[in-house]
């Protein structure tokens, strides 16, 4: 298996041109393998953990907690689905031709890329100023919590394990991965616009040095194949029945009080009295 694709330039010098598409298959199967693993894991482990959890937590008073708790604002949901559509379009247009399904993909690809970029810019601004910016980021406390959870999963004491804040650790990890891969594909993708015909920039294949171009293509490819895996697993979780309440929240915006109390620590995700339908963005 190759990781990178090399080629010779007109002077006969070897030069990096992109990742090897072997990696596409690698990441695809890695995603599938994760899903298979998780299906088994969920079937064997989760019921046990769920029992323990039922015994342990969730005893707080429901007082002051509304029936519906807004988890994702309309704006955040719109962003998510626009981004998801763009991402799917990018993956399909980017990879179908590689696996042999040929069609005119470039225009759709770059337009989807531009949509994705705009949606991400919107998201960054929105999250920075209107959402709890830090709620999605991996923080030192998350690591301690992660250690505890692992301990419990491995049969150690379950004591002291907290319920989640707004975003559980796996969500945070996923977000981090998506962010890194996203930055890679968007950053490189925007530069790669100079290698195709489009109305936004005047193409200039010599904008960068040859090696830099190679790096751009490789990073773009790496981010993209990572997205294949991330997207597969993301969709998998979205359609898992036990996670469906989360998926619903991304569609309708809110979670039920029961789920909130079952999965989240009200002290870590403080919910206000305001009704879920409020148009005002939730702060904490």
């Amino acid at each position: 298996m190759e990781i990178f694709q090399w080629d010779t330039n007109p002077w006969g010098q070897e030069t990096l041109i992109r990742i090897s598409w072997d990696l596409l298959y690698l990441f695809f199967w890695a995603g599938i393998a994760f899903i298979v693993f998780h299906v088994l894991y969920a079937a064997v482990w989760l019921p046990r953990l769920a029992r323990e959890a039922a015994n342990g937590g969730g005893g707080e008073a429901a007082a002051g907690i509304p029936e519906k708790i807004e988890r994702h604002t309309l704006a955040a949901r719109l962003f998510h689905w626009v981004m998801a559509a763009a991402m799917l379009a990018l993956l399909v247009t980017g990879f179908f031709p590689i696996i042999g399904i040929q069609f005119a993909w470039v225009t759709i690809h770059w337009i989807a890329g531009v949509v994705l970029t705009i949606s991400i810019i919107y998201h960054v601004i929105h999250a920075s100023f209107y959402l709890d910016f830090w709620s999605i980021w991996l923080l030192p406390a998350d690591l301690a919590e992660a250690a505890q959870r692992v301990k419990r999963q491995l049969g150690g004491s379950g004591g002291g394990v907290q319920r989640h804040a707004k975003y559980p650790l796996d969500h945070k990890l996923y977000h981090t991965a998506v962010m890194l891969a996203g930055l890679a594909v968007i950053g490189t993708g925007l530069v790669m616009m100079f290698r195709i015909e489009n109305p936004l920039v005047t193409s200039n294949a010599y904008l960068l040095a040859e090696e830099t171009w190679g790096l751009m293509y490789a990073l773009h490819g790496l981010g993209a194949v990572l997205f294949v895996m991330l997207t597969l697993t993301h969709i998998y979780f979205a359609v898992r029945p036990d996670k469906f309440w989360l998926t619903k929240s991304m569609i309708f915006g809110s979670v039920d009080r029961e789920q909130y109390l079952a999965h989240h620590d009200p002290s870590r995700w403080v919910v206000s009295e305001k009704p879920a339908a409020s148009q005002e963005p939730a702060k904490n």
């Binding site: 080629d7 010779t8 330039n9 290698r195």
Partner: protein, 333 residues
Amino acid sequence: MAVIRDKMPAFQLFQPASTGEALGVLDQYGADAWVLAGGLDSWDWFKDRVKKPAAVVDLGGIESLRSIRSFGGTVEIGAMATLREVVRNPDVSSQFSLLVEATELAASPQIRNQGTIGGNIGQDTRCWYYRDGWSCYRAGGNICYADTPTAMNREHAILGASRCVAVNPSDTAPALVALDAEMVVENSGGQRVIPAQDFFIGPAIDIMRMTVLQPGDILTSIRIPSTWAGQRFYFEKSRDRAVWDFPLANVASAARITNGVIEDIRIVANGVAPYPVRFTAAEDAVRGEAVSDETAERAGEIAIRGVRPLAHNGYKVALLRNLVKRSVRGAEA
């Protein structure tokens, strides 16, 4: 690796006597096999060691692929008929002189004696960067060397490019698209018949191929339906040299004209895009109109809508406009 040109490396040569036998070999070798017709395109690639197929399947020994037959007004030309045989065939010349004109302007007399109609249709682009082994998009790389700020692209595309700006250089292809011909393609799975217009693909769809032909496929024949038989034809090729020169642009049109009015017309050009371009908007605009300078002029103007000339080929816009104009106006004007 050091570059050596003009020295053909060894390959395994298969000379099957039947299409079935040829398809068997092609299946066996898959993407490592190369279908050889007249060799005028292939030998260049081999000699320059740019393409190094493991197996070469020479169709020259398959007699059935050489015949030119007529049935019910349709003329079916075997893909291995030489360009000279196409020109000399009475059915082709009496019904479809458009193809004869196009064929006679291809390459040189010597090449027309050896080159085949199938090879002329299926030939690869002559982009000089790509032909010289530069590792561009079309060769699997990530750049078009002909579309850089300093590139030499006098002979490249003004239409239909997508990353790669190479053009289809065939003279017979636009004539066949204009005549609404069909390409008969066989592989081990059977036969399929593809309209000429759909036979050619641009880089937007597949940057590494000029036609729909995949490994394992053989273009066996070209069928020209009677639809346009004996109608008014126009073919013109623009090139720098009187012979042995690929088109800077060419144009083929077939028109059904009654009492000076264009009832129907098909206008196709090559050498300006990665595939023979049909100008349907121009066709629509002149259909039902009288043949006149104004009508012709309008067709030319419509044909060049949406062109994207490169640094060195702006002249092709004027050339294409005028060729389309002439193709509507006809030879007499």
